[in-house]
Structures are given as C-alpha cells and as structure tokens.
C-alpha cells in the first residue's frame, strides 16, 4: 500500500505541475483574455483604460455587440459592448475606467435589451463573466452592498482567480434561489443606473438608453413590466423613450432567443438613431 500511495502521489504531483504550466504562461502573457469564452469583456476592459479622443461611447450587451463589436475602432464612437452577463455593474466599471483614464465624454449610449436590466448577478454565467474579470481588488471599491451580497451566494467564488480556473471556461453549476420581486430593474441595475447618473452629472455627459431589435417572443414579458420600478432611478423620460423605441422582429430573424441572424442590416438605422456618422 505504501509503495502504491507514494506512486500515486508522485504521479499526481507530476500531473499538477504540468497542468499549471499553461495557465501561468497564459496569465504571464495575458493570452488567456483572448482564449476564454467572453474574450470581448477583456477587450472592452482593455479599451476602457486607454486614452481616446472619441467623445461618444457605447456600452451594450451581446445584442449591441452584434451591431457594434468592440473590435472595430472608430473616431466617432468607442464601442465598449460585451454581454449582459456582466450586469450593469460591469458596464459601470467600464464607463468609470474610461472616465478615470482622463477621457472627455459627451454622450454615453447604453444599448441594453430589457433582459440586461433584469440581471441581478444571479445567473450561472455570473461566475465566469463577472467574477473573473471584475471581482478583483482594483474594482472592489466600486461594488455596492447588493453586488457583494449576490457574489457571496456563488459557490467556489474564492477560487475564481486561481490560475487554472481563471484561464479556463470552468464555472460551477449555480442555480439562484432568490425570489424575484421585480419585473424590469434588478437591485443591482438600480444601484448602477443611479451611479451612472451621478457620473453624468459629475462629468457632464448625456445618457441615451436604447435597445437592439428584440425577438417578438419577448414582447409578452416586456408588456408585463411594471413601469413604477423606473421611478427608483428617476430616469422616467429616458425610459419612456426607451420603451417607445423598442423594435420587435419575428422569431425567424433570430438565430436564438436574442441574437439576430443578419445584424448588419440594422447597423445603419442605429447609426442614424445615435446621430453618428462614419
């Protein structure tokens, strides 16, 4: 037995050493940010810290990313789109980074589908798409008690930055047991809409809310939204415009519940709506 156990331990050590080489290398080179699922988040984070002349910035979910991917650089619009899983908290951090880098902003376009506003960091994706890129010491001061409360419910959160975990797509199976008592704005979304509004006052920029085209399957859910929830953030006028301009398209136009089959067809229309030219 002793010989067996020693052999197993030696073999396990060899294996553990080998499997750590690649993650440490990827962290050293930063290469994991391009390899993992959600690489667009790291790209937006990187872009958000750079000094740019662009005064219009676009925050957005994956629907917005389809129309205005953050890979494309433009002089008139700086796209920091990524996906809904980062929640309004993640999008706020991107905006804050951009302002802290000393950039001048006159308009912040926020292209989010209603689903993004419902995100309360209670999804199975939260671990990989929010904890790994955003739950780091650099941003902890920007996290509200609601965020901390939600994060504390996620299993294995303590090891989310362990090299093997960080450089892989692994996330625990997590099903939230929260009771949902909102139809549109989650507590996390409320926190960060208020914070974004505060930034708009401090840095004198205009906020504009809009959504990418939505699947008509979502209409029934969105029609049940309790508009009183919007009062909490005092952005009634902006949300009135938001709801007025929602576009619903048939299910056959989408490759899944949310993403368009041919997003290119809608780009020009949105450019006009955002008063930008390329």
């Amino acid at each position: 037995m002793k010989k067996f156990l020693i052999g197993v331990i030696k073999f396990s050590i060899c294996f553990l050493v080998i499997i750590h080489i690649r993650p440490y290398y990827l962290i050293y080179t930063g290469g994991y940010k391009e390899k993992v699922a959600g690489a667009e988040i790291y790209r937006s984070l990187l872009k958000s810290k750079k000094k740019r002349k662009t005064k219009k910035i676009l925050l957005g979910d994956s629907g917005a990313y389809q129309l205005f991917p953050n890979k494309i650089d433009s002089d008139t619009l700086n796209s920091l789109t990524c996906n809904q899983a980062v929640s309004l908290a993640g999008h706020y951090i991107l905006l804050n980074n951009y302002l802290q880098a000393g950039n001048q902003v006159d308009t912040v376009l926020m292209m989010f589908s209603p689903t993004t506003f419902r995100n309360n960091l209670d999804q199975v994706f939260t671990y990989h798409y929010f904890l790994k890129p955003f739950y780091i010491p650099e941003y902890k001061a920007l996290l509200t008690p609601n965020v901390i409360k939600q994060v504390n419910k996620i299993p294995f959160r303590q090891i989310s930055h362990y090299p093997i975990i960080l450089t892989s797509n692994w996330a625990p199976d997590f099903v939230s047991k929260d009771t949902i008592n909102y139809t549109f704005l989650s507590p996390v979304a409320v926190d960060y809409l208020i914070k974004i509004k505060e930034l708009s006052v401090k840095y004198h920029f205009e906020m504009m809310l809009l959504s990418c085209p939505l699947n008509e399957n979502q209409k029934a859910i969105n029609d049940r939204i309790d508009k009183n929830e919007i009062n909490k953030v005092e952005l009634v006028e902006k949300f009135d415009n938001y709801f007025k301009n929602l576009i619903y398209l048939p299910d056959s136009f989408f490759m899944d519940k949310f993403h368009l089959k041919h997003p290119d067809q809608y780009v020009d229309g949105y450019k006009k709506a955002m008063f930008i030219s390329h």
Binding site: M1, V8, F11, C14, F15, I18, I19
Partner: protein, 488 residues
Amino acid sequence: MVFTSFEFLGFFIVFFFLYWFVFNVNVKIQNLFILVSSCVFYAFWDWRFLLLLVGSSIINFFLGIFLYKSSNDFHRRLLTYFGLLQGLGLLFFFKYYNFFVESFKELFASFGIQFNVHTINIILPLGISYYTFRTISYILEIDKNKITPTRDWVIFFNYVAFFPTLLSGPIDKPATFIPQLEKKRSFEYNEGVNALRQILWGFFKKIVIADNCARFTNEIFDNFHNYHGSTLLLGLYLFAIQLYCDFSGYSDMAIGFSRLMGFNVTKNFNFPFFAQNIADFWRRWHISLTSWLTEYVFTPLSIALRDYNKVGLIIAIVINLTLCGIWHGARWSYIFFGFVHGCLFIPLILNGTLNKKKLLPKGNALPTVKQLLDMFLTFTLIVLSFAVFKSNNFHEAVTYYAEMFSGLFSKNAYVETFKFLLWENLIFLVVTILIFILIEWYGKEGNFAIEKFGIKWIKQARWAFYLTLLLFIYYFAGEKQQFIYFKF
C-alpha cells in the same frame, strides 16, 4: 454523483482511506462500511428510491433463506415464482407500465374501442434494471441449488447495491461475487496499479471520445432533416463509437474502482468492434447482460425447443435478443433493435457457423483482408441498427433511415460531409478515434486496452503515456454528458 464528477472523486478518496486504514479491522466492519457508502452514493441521486432498493433487498434476502430451507417442491416453485414476480413486477411498474398502457390504448383505439386506463407520472429509479437482475439471479441460483443463500444481510445487501456497479453494472452473478464479500480482502500493489490504468482508460473513453462525439451526434440527430445522407451515416458511425466508449468507459471505471477495493467484477466488454460476425459481437458486447440472458432465457428456451432443430434455435435466439432489446426500455424501437439482431443470427444458424470461434491475430499482427472485411461489415451492420438508440421514437428512427438512404448518393452529399468534418475540429476527433482504435487493437488480448500497453517500457516513458492520456482528458474534455446506460 457520477464517476466523472469531482464529488465522486472526493467521495472515493475519503472512502478508500477509511476502507483500507480504518475499517479493515475485520471483514464484517469493512462490509458494513461498503453498505453505508453505497447507500450514501445512491441517496445522492434520490434518497426516496433508496427505500425501494432496501425493500427489494429485504424481500429477496428472506426469500432466499425460505427457498433454501423448503424441501417441498410446490413451495419452492411458489417461492421462486414470487421472487420472479416481485423483481419483474417492480421492473414492469417503473419501466414498462406506461408503454403497455399506451400500446394497448392505441391497439384498442384502432378497433374503435376506448381503453380508459391512465398512465402514471413516475421517474425511473436509477439502476433498477441492474439490481433487479441481480436479485432475480440470486433467487434462480438458489432454486437450482447452485448456491446456498447467505445468512449475513450485510453481504446480501452489498451484493445488490455494491456502489461501483449499482447504477450501470456489470451485473454480477451471486456465485462469483458473494464469496468475495465473505473473505478478507487485502490490497495488492499490482492490482491497484492495474485498477488505476483501467479507470484512466475508462475516463479517456468517456470524456475524450464519447462526450466529444456527443456534440456532433446531437447536432446531426437533432437536425437530421437539414443534412445529406452521407452526413447522417457519419452520425451513425460516430454514435456507435460514442455508445461503446460511454458504456465500456463506465464499465472500466466501475471495474477499476471495484479492484481498488479488492473485488474482481465481471468483464463487460471484449473489444466488440473487432467482432467478425453478429454472434461474435454479442459474445463481446455487454457481456454481463448477455450471459445473464443466455443462462436464464436462452438456455431453457433452446432446451425446450430442441426438437425443432434449427427452427427452435432461431426462435430461442430471436426471443432472447428481443428481450435484450426490451431490457433497454419500453419503446418499440428497442424491441425492433433486439428482433433485428436476432434475425441477423439466422444466416449463421442455417450455415452452421453460429458457434465457430472467430479468432483475431495474436500480438501486434494486423488483421488479414478477410478479417478486416468481416469486421467492417459486422461493424456497419451494428452501426445501422444503433439509430433506434439515439432517436426519440421508432417513427423518428425510420425517418432517419429513410433520409439517410435516400440522400446517400445525392450530388453534394460528400462535399457537405467533408465540410462538416472540418467544422469545429471534428477532424481532430476522427484522428483521436483512429489512435484510440489502434490502441484497442494492440491491447485486445488484455482485459482492457492499456492493461499491457507499454508495460515493457521504462517507467518514465510509461508515465509519459499515462500523463498524455490525462492531459487529453483535461484539455479535450467534451461537454459533460449523462452516461447513456443510466436511462436503461
């Protein structure tokens, strides 16, 4: 808690140390510990069905003792039938009731008669087909005076619910397994190392091959109307490989974990894709089930029908394999699968080659052209019949076949299949499968493919090989899929 989960890894490590270092005081305590662990293992899935398992074990434990004690033939018959009725009744209720009700309803409806019996909404208890066959085997062996019943309830319960083989077999016979529970077990270094090799190979088959194949077979089967016949044929070949690697991978893990506990469990697969005819295939595929059916169904049937010569033999084999099909589940497609396989035996029976042993070349030698052709044809026959396992119902399977054969020679079929092969690294999977088949070929004389693979190499080279397999598992793991045979 499945073998490929971190929960099971943690569970087994703790179990292993307690088993060999704390509870090895005597065999009774060690057996009790196995039983408690088996209950914990099963309760992880659903503790309510643990009661069913315990209830069935209690009935069969006492039934075995009463049966052995009884000297009256009539009483013995009665007890044996009760045991069979209890086991088969349990299976019927949980597995087949809805199927029969639906089928009768449809049958009566076709004559314009409404049949007012309702189906029930119930979950199939995990492992029921396996542990019920163990209890039936126990009763029949006592009835035939082949074994004496154990008076130790812990031993009997362990025979029924031994956790490494509880959920998907192999289905051990009481004559080979119970004696192992009765004697003191000791840890052998070579056995331990071999067990780890077998577990490693099982993991490789399940996680690298089966789970990666699943990605493509799910895509092809879920959207088969969108693909040409040649891609559908590719889907069938991939599914056959997936099914084999999934189930034999599980069996290798089950056998390996048992060996680490000092148990020798029945071999379940003997490289079935190297079979050279259908009879050869069934001697190599799911061996513990086929030998169970051979002993308790085929042998009595063929004896009863021996006066009818070849016709009797054909009937016995067709019934045996149809039952084998039904064992998999309550669907017409499984019945069809078993029936067709039974019919495939007919040419062998008619030309008298049914029991002719098909030998494979020894050592590293390659097969002859004839052997290779026989293997390929047998494999293709098997592959063609596997659509019923993957399809949701018989109608879907028939549609799949129809679209596959009608589109097999269409103009752009092979171009599309080639593009599909290039899609998302399927080509990598095909290369991995070819390497896997080569390793299986060179290891075909062992109990599992890598039992003797590289055994004469220096230790460092051997370790490098095992580490390579582990790295494949680590880096190329497919999306986690449930073991296919859990649902049976």
